[in-house]
């Protein structure tokens, strides 16, 4: 008898869920919202600011070419190399800036932790795929571009279930 009761309860649970809302995120048409601007690090307090670890953004008016980000990445993924740039600034006389290879980057954010000049942050941009491996190497000028990230939906919970809406 308990098996029959168990069977009926299982079927009942299955039928009940026909009325619960679907949870799927329809990805290319809907994209998730993020709180905040991306992962940042404050070298004075030594604590980061919570955010999504996406593509990096390099502020050219703050980067001094000290190579600390490249040194931090050497043991992890070796994704940052320093390259020569065309202009020189007062704060960057050596005229070198980091170039990040997203084919190797693991998005751990330790390079952001290493930068003492508030020059390297991470943004919300995660759609970085390309057709060739060379296109994944982002030069310093490409890194300086602020990303446009579409943000539509987040998880909403109501009494008929959770949904991405």
């Amino acid at each position: 008898m308990s098996t029959v009761a168990g069977i009926i309860r299982a079927l009942n649970s299955g039928v009940k869920h026909l009325a619960v809302k679907r949870f799927t995120l329809r990805y290319p048409e809907q994209k998730l919202k993020f709180v905040g601007d991306g992962f940042q690090f404050d070298p004075q307090t030594g604590v980061g600011i919570a955010g999504q670890k996406g593509r990096h953004i390099l502020f050219h008016d703050k980067c001094t070419g000290c190579q600390l980000c490249a040194i931090a990445c050497e043991g992890i993924a070796e994704a940052i190399a320093m390259v020569k740039v065309n202009n020189t600034w007062k704060h960057n006389k050596k005229a070198i800036m980091p170039q990040i290879d997203y084919g190797k980057c693991v998005f751990c954010g330790l390079c952001v932790d290493a930068c003492p000049f508030y020059a390297l942050y991470m943004t919300n941009d995660y759609e970085l795929s390309s057709f060739t491996k060379e296109a994944l190497i982002y030069t310093p000028s490409q890194l300086a571009v602020k990303p446009k990230v579409a943000q539509d939906v987040e998880i909403k919970i109501d009494d008929r279930g959770a949904t991405h809406g």
């Binding site: 168990g6 869920h17 690090f41 955010g51 999504q52 670890k53 992890i76 954010g109 330790l110």
Partner: protein
């Protein structure tokens, strides 16, 4: 007359009744490891696990990276439970370098660790469902996992491989409306967990399939050296969070879940009960967390440990995860030894599967909570 065999090859007696099955790495019923099973009709005569397909040399590679660069490296064995595998490393390095962790960081660590435990257990439960042929139990935990991964993404910035814990605390503070979002989603998650009772745990077909199979007695569990949920489902009350509490577990109010039967059903139920406890722990920790405070102690640049060694262990989703760190006055550790729950529980596979029916093989094998990547490191 036995001719000389080349070294490394073995001569095996081929029997008429016994068929050798390769439940191999390319099989929908195994993880990334191989089980060489010899079957006589429907009964398994012997089972020989063959791990090592995903061995990378994690421990050796850890000797070439300094203490902070080891953080993204050492979390790779279990990518979705990454906080729990970094936890003993951070605790051991803190002991080596003599660092104090602030209170708020301890609470955040506990919350992240419990969330990760639920994320891993849901993944394991969904694969358990699909091994038994229950496609709904494959989809529901994967969907509910999204609720928790969303929280972890807000907290640490990445969905898996968070790289969130550092020796000295955590890398960043919680985002602005984290507490109420966490509370809301964890409450809904608890409601969803209760739905699993009817459709999975009280399902008569499931109970017929898993009850009484692969029974591990209490003495055998202790003798074989099992750990984690396998141990607790055999009747031994040993949860590291209770017996050797670390961080703030002694302030939090929870029970360790123990079941007595020791069969596959109990082994599949203990992680589920653990998840319900995790929800309680998270809610409790959110209440007791200090509202403000620093979350990281600043380290000196390029920290060096003295000629010292430290061993700490933590209860992860699979069992006791221990890290033994030896340093010799350099910025890289001299040796990092990872002692993993999955590898310890692997001894149960040949022991339990001998004499079982072939139909019970997925139920028993996956209920041992074995994660191949972690076992191979």
């Amino acid at each position: 007359m036995i001719t000389q065999l080349p070294p490394g090859m073995q001569l095996e007696r081929v029997d008429e009744r016994i068929m050798t099955l390769n439940v191999g790495p390319q099989h929908p019923g195994s993880g990334h490891m191989r089980l060489i099973i010899k079957v006589d009709g429907d009964y398994i005569v012997s089972c020989d696990p063959d791990p090592g397909y995903v061995h990378r040399g994690e421990e050796k590679m850890a000797e070439y990276r300094n203490y902070i660069q080891n953080i993204p490296h050492l979390e790779r064995p279990v990518i979705h439970d990454s906080c729990n595998i970094l936890y003993p490393y951070c605790l051991a390095v803190e002991e080596l370098l003599g660092i104090e962790v602030p209170e708020r960081a301890k609470y955040i660590r506990v919350i992240a660790s419990e969330l990760n435990r639920c994320v891993y257990t849901l993944y394991w439960l969904s694969i358990y469902g699909i091994f038994l042929g229950h496609s709904t139990m494959f989809m529901w935990p994967m969907g509910d996992r999204e609720l928790l991964i969303d929280l972890l993404e807000a907290l640490s910035g990445a969905r898996v491989t968070h790289a969130y814990f550092v020796p000295g605390g955590v890398r960043n503070d919680t985002p602005s409306n984290f507490e109420e979002r966490c509370l809301r989603q964890v409450n809904y998650f608890e409601k969803r967990l209760k739905e699993y009772e009817d459709i999975f745990y009280q399902n008569p077909v499931l109970k017929q399939r898993t009850e009484g199979t692969g029974i591990l007695s209490r003495m055998d569990a202790i003798r074989l050296g099992t750990t984690g949920s396998v141990l607790r489902s055999a009747g031994v009350d040993f949860d590291i969070r209770k017996k050797e509490p670390y961080d703030v577990y002694e302030n939090l109010d929870f029970q360790s879940q123990v079941l007595k039967e020791g069969d596959s059903y109990a082994r599949s139920r203990v992680p589920y009960l653990d998840m319900l406890e995790s929800c309680r722990i998270i809610k409790d920790a959110l209440k007791k967390m200090p509202k403000s405070g620093s979350v990281r102690t600043k380290l000196k640049p390029n920290p060096k440990g003295g000629n010292d060694e430290a061993y700490r262990r933590v209860e992860s989703g699979r069992g006791a995860l221990g890290m033994y760190v030896v340093s010799d006055n350099k910025i890289e550790p001299y040796r990092v030894k990872i002692s993993v729950g999955s590898f310890r529980n692997m001894i149960c596979m040949p022991y339990l599967l001998k004499g079982e029916k072939l139909g019970n093989m997925p139920a028993v094998y996956w209920s041992l909570n074995y994660w191949p990547v972690e076992a191979d490191r």
